[in-house]
Symmetry: C2
Subunit: 123 residues, 2 copies
């Protein structure tokens, strides 16, 4: 599978709200997830757990994903980027907000081996 095929599948599934299906099917067992703070989480199960914790403390109204954007997509390994816009209400505040972020994904052997997030605001 090319990076383009994988990345388009990624965006399509995210735009359908199937983020956890993406993680289960496209994330490598040893994926490393890097938050905007620089904190790293290693391993598919731990990364999924981290996302579940985020989903548990926010009400997610909608998600739009722009992209995928490619770098070196002709190879079987390389990177792609996407731009996310989330409409969420943090349960702690009850105030609906728009969150924008960029994700950069590294692909190797048909799996995502690294995700790195870039957020707005102070970190």
């Amino acid at each position: 599978m090319s990076i383009q095929t994988l990345a388009k599948q990624f965006v399509e599934m995210c735009n359908q709200g199937k983020n956890f299906d993406v993680m289960h099917t496209l994330y490598a067992p040893d994926i490393v997830s890097v938050e905007a703070s620089g904190q790293e989480t290693a391993g598919q199960a731990a990364v999924i757990e981290k996302s579940k914790r985020w989903a548990a403390i926010n009400t997610i109204h909608g998600e739009k994903v722009r992209g995928p954007f490619f770098n070196g997509a002709n190879q079987s390994s390389g990177q792609f980027a996407v731009h996310f816009t989330f409409e969420v209400t943090p349960k702690a505040t009850g105030q609906r907000i728009t969150l924008e972020e960029v994700g950069v994904y590294t692909v190797k052997d048909d799996k995502i081996t690294r995700e790195q997030f870039f957020y707005e605001g102070n970190w």
Copy 2:
């Protein structure tokens, strides 16, 4: 200067169409620019020349920059990302198009030392 200060200046200047001022003032002398194809260009002068060539073959109607988005912005070195939307007419075709791309920028000692572009489409 923090990465946040630099990145906000970057976005503000780009949104004013001052992309070349950004390159002259914020790019390190030994900056490396990585195109979506994987091709690398090294050195501020060579990178500016590359951008001039692009500007010469396109009529640029507008540019909108989303972000900056941060990763590890509390440090004096790290990365930020932006999402560009260009409205351009390639002189070769005469057909106006919208180009979206993501740029990931590495900052060290108050200068941008690396830029990596992610484009839509086939590369």
